[in-house]
Each structure stands twice: as structure tokens, then as C-alpha cells.
């Protein structure tokens, strides 16, 4: 598979008065055309900062301090401001978590979609408006010719997110970054939006970076997933392998915490003890060591690199990477594949 996007050793830091926060450190992953990679992790693990770094949307006091982001062979970090603007919204589009605040409250959604089109295409305002109506229709918005004149606050949450997706897809991007696209929506609407994203991807073959902390959604939508913890990718692999044979203790813990259907009523729910470390003063060694039950002397001395898994594979052809000195044996953690909708 040819790589559409390849992120290599990305590092993004925030310079605060109390010190440097390494929000994203040595993050590497790649996405092929037509593929969906899910970036999973808890709040503050660096998922959204990674996404924003791809389009260079990090503003002061944040700064991208290293690595490369190759998009169709071009390093986005080396582009000038005019060149990166040509990529934004055109070749790479983004949708956001909260569609109400992500739309400008004082402009109609039509005006905002027209702006997105006319920033990159030389079409008249009238043509762009017609395109906006067509896009809204494709997203399944009823009576789009009227809705296009509505202001964001007049639409329901699901409609707003559909309009946001319409705006993102207006220039037919090759890559869509979806930053928690369904977090602010109710469960039925979540399923509809996910279905819509999958359909659109199948139709135009774009790559997708899906950022979420919802493992059910990952199982439903993504082909591969990268698990982030404390600003680093700790495990990456195909969905079926990751969900059945997780190697990193953190991934295993995450999966155990959502697989609660087999538990008898009244039993305590499984959890990972402790809490995520502060990124302000990174500890030496593995960031997860404090909470890990397989902690080892080496874990406190060195940060385990993200390396290709050397265990004999029962999943031929799938590349699996894990950042752990003592990865769990694949057969040691029996976990059923999560297949229910979110």
C-alpha cells in the first residue's frame, strides 16, 4: 500500500511558565489511501495535538519541534505559510468535536461552506452556493436548499456535524482528520455519523485519521489503530489483532475496562490503577511503569522504543508495533472482539 500520510518522530511541545510540556513525543504512524487509522487514548494523551500538528494548527505557546510529516511525499513541516494554506481544507480537511462552537455563530452554514469552496476553487459565489446545497443533500440533510441559509444554532447537533462534514468534504480532500467527531452527539446520531463517514470514504477513497477515546467506535470504523499514552504511541496494529491480542499492558488494560459484559452483576469493574503522569516533568523510563503490573528494572531506566513485534504471528501480513520491554504474550489475554456499536 502506498502511504498517503506518514508521520515520523513528531514532537510538539508547549512552552509554559512552569516548564516545557512534551505533549507529543516521537510519534510515528502512517495512513494509506482509503484506510482509516484510529488514534486512541485518554484525555491529554496527545491525540488532538497530533492531529492539529499535521495541519500545523498549533499556535503559541505550542511549537512543533521535530520530526517530519510526509503527505503524498511532501514534508508539510517544510512548507511556507501560503503552501500549507493550499493544503488545509483542500487536500487535508478536518472536522471537530463540537460542531456548535466550530462553526462561526454569526454566519449561515451556507456562507461558511461557500468560503471553504472559494478559498481553493475558482468558482462564482452562486456556483459555490449550488455546490453547498448538493453537499448538504449528499450528507443526508433534508430540504438542503432551506437549511443552507440557516445559522448554526438553528440546527440540531447531528445536522450541524453533517454540515461540518459537508464543509470538510467540499474540496474533496485526500485525507480527512476527524477529531472526536461524535463525542458531542447522542448515541443514535453517533452511529449515523459514523455510517456516513464510512460511506463517504468508500465512495471517494480518502484516508482518514479518526481520533477518539471510544473503543467501540474504533472497532466499528477503523482498519488500524494506534494507542497513545502520555504523548507517545505505545502500540499500533490492525484492529482484529489489537483487539484480540493486545501486547502492551496499557492497551490490554483499556480493553479490559470496556469488556464488562461477561462480568457478574455487582463485581467491581476493572480499571487501570493510578492516573496518567504529568507531561511537564517527564519521568525517566517508561511513562506507564508506575501503573504497570509487569514492571521491570529496565522500565525505570529507559523509554521502550516503538518496535516491530517479534512474537510469532498468528495474523499473517499485519505489521504490529509495540513499545514495551516485556510485552504480554498474545495468548495470555483472552479478549473478545468488541463489535457492538458505540
Amino acid at each position: 500500500m502506498s502511504e498517503l500520510l506518514s508521520v515520523h518522530k513528531l514532537a510538539t511541545c508547549f512552552h509554559s511558565r512552569r516548564g516545557i510540556i512534551r505533549a507529543v513525543d516521537e510519534v510515528s504512524f502512517s495512513i494509506a489511501a482509503g484506510e482509516t487509522l484510529a488514534l486512541v487514548g485518554e484525555s491529554g494523551s496527545g491525540k488532538s495535538v497530533t492531529a492539529a500538528s499535521i495541519l500545523r494548527l498549533i499556535s503559541a505557546p505550542g511549537r512543533i519541534e521535530g520530526g517530519e510529516i510526509l503527505f503524498q511525499g511532501q514534508d508539510l513541516l517544510k512548507l511556507g505559510t501560503a503552501a500549507i494554506r493550499q493544503i488545509r481544507g483542500n487536500r487535508i480537511a478536518m472536522i471537530f468535536q463540537e460542531p456548535l462552537s466550530a462553526f462561526n455563530p454569526v454566519q449561515s452554514i451556507g456562507t461558511q461552506i461557500v468560503e471553504a469552496i472559494r478559498l481553493h476553487r475558482k468558482v462564482s459565489r452562486k456556483q459555490a452556493f449550488e455546490q453547498a446545497v448538493t453537499l448538504l443533500e449528499r450528507m443526508g440533510i433534508p430540504s438542503p436548499a432551506q437549511r443552507v441559509h440557516e445559522f448554526p444554532h438553528r440546527l440540531s447537533g447531528g445536522m450541524r456535524q453533517r454540515a461540518m462534514i459537508a464543509m470538510a468534504l467540499s474540496c474533496e480532500p485526500d485525507l480527512l482528520i476527524a477529531d472526536e467527531p461524535t463525542t458531542a452527539l447522542d448515541v443514535t446520531t453517533q452511529a449515523q455519523i459514523l455510517e456516513l463517514l464510512k460511506e463517504l470514504q468508500a465512495a471517494n477513497g480518502m484516508g482518514m485519521l479518526l481520533i477518539t477515546h471510544d473503543l467501540g467506535m474504533v472497532a466499528e470504523t477503523a482498519h488500524r489503530a494506534a494507542v497513545m499514552y502520555a504523548g507517545r504511541v505505545v502500540e499500533e496494529g490492525s484492529i482484529d489483532r489489537l483487539f484480540t491480542a493486545a501486547r502492551h499492558p496499557y492497551t490490554a488494560g483499556l480493553l479490559a475496562s470496556v469488556n464488562i459484559e461477561a462480568l457478574a452483576p455487582g463485581t467491581k469493574l476493572p480499571e487501570i490503577p493510578g492516573s496518567a503522569p504529568s507531561l511537564l516533568n517527564p519521568v525517566q523510563g517508561c511513562a506507564f511503569a508506575e501503573r504497570c503490573n509487569a514492571r521491570h528494572a529496565l522500565c525505570d531506566k529507559q523509554t521502550p522504543p516503538l518496535a516491530t513485534d517479534t512474537e510469532p504471528e498468528s495474523f499473517p501480513g499485519s505489521r504490529h508495533r509495540v513499545a514495551c520491554f516485556l510485552p504480554a504474550r498474545p495468548d495470555a489475554i483472552p479478549l473478545p472482539v468488541e463489535s457492538e456499536a458505540a
Binding site: 492539529a52 495541519l55 494548527l57 494554506r85 493550499q86 493544503i87 488545509r88 481544507g89 483542500n90 480537511a93 478536518m94 471537530f96 463540537e98 462552537s101 466550530a102 462553526f103 462561526n104 455563530p105 454569526v106 454566519q107 449561515s108 468560503e115 471553504a116 478559498l119 481553493h120 441559509h149 445559522f151 444554532h153 464543509m167
Partner: protein, 331 residues
């Protein structure tokens, strides 16, 4: 922006105008009662200026002017005449109050609107520049400038402006609205009035300019942190576009609120500035009427001012609904 938008505006205006009637009536009653508390009346002043007046003559004048009747009778008469749009007669100036006011109103409106225009444009520009260069030298320079203009008393600033621009430099006239010695018409007249208006309008504008600059800076900085600005960036919009079409557009809303609240204080600020620059407006007329205890005229001016302020506030509310679609006029 539906087809029923225009009637909505008309309905809104009709309702607001009806609501304004009790407000203005209340103001008229309060004005009347409060002014009764001030010692002395127009007869005292007239008698004082005449040098010698017998108590009989003064009593006769009071009967003539209706000042000898009980206050509540005077109030009823006053309200009755107000509702028939008759503002009474200025015994001091020997002219109907309405004529006097209408004669002076254009000058005050010109001064007020020019000052508001200057304050808005300069405040917006300074606020936007501050927010673009936040915590850099341009921002700090503007902060110092704004602090000075905010802190200086308007009348003192006016006097200093006269000393510098009229006295030392001789660039601009020091007072009045037109050059009395010349008889201009058409464009030259307009230019003459403009030259006379610059100093008083700029003086009146300084305080509000400072407030608006601070307000716009804060609103812009808040806007820049908003999610929709990030969306605009992710769409590939240029920074200029983001500043003007997204951030500034949203920053206008608090500015408009402040503007509506301050219309009345701009009007009262005009009194001072008109006195300093001998600008022939309502403010100076009000000042003169207080000195002369010319109650009818003063009440007329106060009533007229409250009508102007109320009308401008209704306009501001209508514009607000236009700028921010989240505000619906019928609520």
C-alpha cells in the same frame, strides 16, 4: 434571513416605540419634580438682571408665567402640553422652546455622530492592532495611549487642544461652528464646518475611543481562542481573512452593546465640549438655561435628549439582531 424578515423588524420597531412612551413620560415627570427642588426661578433671574424689580412686579410675572400655581397643577399642565408636542415657551429667550431646540439640535447631532464615528473607527483600529501584536511593543504603546486618553478630563483636553492646534500651530479654528466673518455656501461651507468640528469631535471622542479600543482588544483575543477560528484556519483561510471576517465580526457584538449604553453619556459629554469650543449646540443651550433658571427650556432639552437616546437605543437593538442571528427580535 427568511422572507418574513422585514415585517419582523417593523413589528419590533412598533412594539419598542410603544414601550418607549411610558419610559419617556416617566423621565418627563422625574425631570419636572427634580428641577422643582432647585432654588430660584426664572423670575428671580430676570429681576436680578433688571437691577430693580418690585415684589409686586415679580408676583405679576409669576402669575403670568403660571409659576404661582401648586406644583401638581403645573405638572399636569406640563404633561398635557408635552403630549400635544408643545414644549412651552422660553420666557427668557422669548421664543418657543421647540424652535430653540430644533435650531440647536443639528449642531449637537453633528458633534455627537462625528465623535462616535471617530471613537468607533479609531477604537476598532487600535483594538485590532493591539490584539494582533498582543504583549509586543505596538500593544504596549497603544495601552499607554489609551490609558492617557481615558484618564484625561475632557474639558482640559479640549483647552489644551485649542492651545496647541489653534493657538500655537494655527491649523484649526478654536471655536464656533462656522467662520462668522465669511459667508460660505455649498462645498466651502461644508469644509468650513468640518474644520470647526474636528477639534470638538476629537476631544469628545477620546474617552470613548479608549473604552472601545480596550473592549475590541479583549473581544478580539477572546475570538482568536474560539473553535471557529481554528475551523477557519483548517479551511485554509488567510490570517487577514480570519481577522476581518471571523474574529472582528464577532468582536463587534460587545462593542455595539457598549455603544448603546454610552449614547446618553456622549450626549452629556457634549455639554462640556460645546462650552469649551463655543459650539452652538443643545449642550450649551442647556447650560445657559440652567444659569437663567429657564425651566421650560431646560425641561424641553432634557425631554428631547431622552427621546434621542431612546431612539438610538432602539436602533442599536435592531442592528444587534442583524449582526447576531442568535438574537431574535420578537423575544
Amino acid at each position: 434571513m427568511s422572507s418574513s424578515h422585514f415585517p419582523t423588524v417593523l413589528k419590533f420597531l412598533r412594539r419598542r416605540l410603544w414601550l418607549a412612551v411610558p419610559v419617556i413620560a416617566g423621565i418627563a415627570i422625574l425631570n419636572f419634580l427634580i428641577l422643582q427642588l432647585a432654588p430660584g426661578d426664572v423670575v428671580d433671574v430676570l429681576a436680578g438682571e433688571a437691577g430693580a424689580a418690585t415684589p409686586e412686579y415679580m408676583a405679576q410675572l409669576r402669575t403670568e408665567f403660571g409659576l404661582d400655581r401648586p406644583i401638581y397643577v403645573q405638572l399636569v399642565f406640563y404633561l398635557k402640553s408635552v403630549f400635544t408636542l408643545d414644549l412651552g415657551f422660553s420666557f427668557r429667550q422669548n421664543m418657543p422652546v421647540l424652535t430653540l431646540i430644533l435650531d440647536r439640535l443639528p449642531a449637537t447631532l453633528l458633534l455627537m455622530l462625528t465623535a462616535m464615528g471617530i471613537a468607533l473607527v479609531a477604537g476598532l483600529a487600535l483594538g485590532v492592532i493591539s490584539s494582533l501584536y498582543v504583549h509586543r511593543w505596538a500593544d504596549r504603546l497603544i495601552a499607554v495611549f489609551v490609558l492617557i486618553t481615558y484618564a484625561l478630563p475632557t474639558f482640559w483636553l479640549g483647552l489644551m487642544a485649542i492651545v496647541l492646534f489653534s493657538g500655537r500651530l494655527g491649523w484649526l479654528p478654536s471655536g464656533n461652528m462656522t467662520d462668522i466673518s465669511a459667508d460660505y455656501t455649498g462645498l466651502t461651507y461644508a469644509w468650513d464646518v468640518t474644520r470647526h468640528a474636528i477639534l470638538p469631535a476629537a476631544t469628545l471622542a477620546t474617552f470613548y475611543l479608549a473604552v472601545y479600543a480596550k473592549l475590541v482588544r479583549t473581544a478580539m483575543l477572546e475570538s482568536y481562542g474560539a473553535d471557529f477560528i481554528r475551523t477557519a484556519r483548517a479551511k485554509g483561510a488567510t490570517e487577514t481573512r480570519i481577522t476581518l471576517f471571523h474574529a472582528l465580526r464577532n468582536a463587534l457584538l460587545p462593542l455595539l452593546t457598549m455603544l448603546g449604553l454610552q449614547v446618553s453619556s456622549i450626549l452629556s459629554g457634549a455639554v462640556l465640549v460645546e462650552s469649551v469650543f463655543s459650539w452652538p449646540g443643545l449642550g450649551r443651550l442647556a447650560f445657559e438655561s440652567i444659569l437663567a433658571r429657564d425651566l421650560n427650556l431646560l425641561l424641553g432639552i432634557l425631554l428631547f435628549s431622552s427621546v434621542v437616546v431612546t431612539l438610538i437605543n432602539i436602533c442599536v437593538d435592531a442592528v444587534y439582531a442583524f449582526l447576531d442571528p442568535r438574537i431574535e427580535l420578537q423575544h
